[in-house]
Amino acid sequence: MESVRWLLAAAGVEFEEELLETREQYEKLLQDGALMFQQVPMVEIDGMKLVQTRAILNYIAATHNLCGRDLKERALIDMYVEGTTDLMQLILMFPFLSAEDKEKQHALIVQKATNRYFPAYEKVLRDHGQDYLVGNQFSWADIHLFEAILMVEEKKCDVLSEFPQLQMFKARISNMPRIKKFLEPGSQRKPIPDDKYVETVRRVLQMYYNVKASV
């Protein structure tokens, strides 16, 4: 759900949260037919109960002018977002791994970020020399990349050392008023997952007991 919180914040949209704490809450959602595929995230927006993170993000981006001006700009935004999604996916499962698998996964995250993803985005910014990834205006792709950078930095704080364009990009996006606000304590941004979070998720969903590191 964090990417959804980021995007709503970047769009300047206030939102409410119902936090899942018990299995009973989740079972009630299932019984009420609120979850199309029995899964969360679920976002109630404009009369719809939307599930599937990508569908939710797409809708918010489209309704807030964050998905480019035409089909080709949208294609670029989609490509970039799929890349940052793949990168963040590696980090998302991290808290659920065994200590041994965490070590392997940590190495994989840093390796993929440094050798595959960050070079791609660095090149995009360097080639067109503009402030934003697509079409010289702020879009979903920028906020998603920003979130990914911060997540990887939490694993290795100097991971941007070889990427000057990304460093400048990060500084620029951080200074945008809504982003700045979201980065401040007291916002709805959530902290790095801890053991309590892992225990809650496992208990509520009754899954993720045996997650393995990515190959």
Partner: protein, 223 residues
Amino acid sequence: MSGKPKLTYFNGRGRMESIRWLLAAAGVEFEEDFLETREQYLKLIQDGHLLFDQVPLVEIDGMKMVQTKAILSYIAGKHNLYGKGLKERAFIDTYVEGTTDLMQMILTLPFSPPEAKKKNLPLIIEKAKNRYFPAYEKALKQHGQGFLVGNQLSWADVHLLEAILMVEEKESTVLSEFPLLQGFKTRISNMATIKKFLQPGSQRKPQPDDKYVATVMKILKEG
């Protein structure tokens, strides 16, 4: 330069198959470049054609597109298969994410070790019968039209048909409790462009075999 989209991928289904389906449904002719050696793949990377060093790659309208979802969204948007308006698009996205999750499980199956395959196949069938197909059966019932969204064919319908056929290849009676999905399958299969794609000689690829798996692993040198 023919102006037709060019697909670069292994000679098999994998992640490119959904793209072949969607292009076929849209009545768009396409060319294919098959990856057979690691050298071909490394050359693509060296020449800077692969944004994230990955295939599928689709060259279309002057762009070198990667990332399956991005490619499918572009094709759907261009060929009037993405609904009318943002709410229809949101529904299509939701449905496609569900069928993606289901097909993803089948996609990775050939690449897992034999014990995992034996264990996972029944789980996939169970998810199809208890999670995904009930959701689409309900969607068709509530919507009351021939299609999942709006009243015309969309990306969601093509993707669901592909998913149904993939699961049926694993268990042929899987739709027995889902009368609306059975009707849906027949109807969509009979649409002219889809019917053509289902016939022998089309660019639809067969189920992955050991040779395909070996080729992919050799070229990517992963897993």
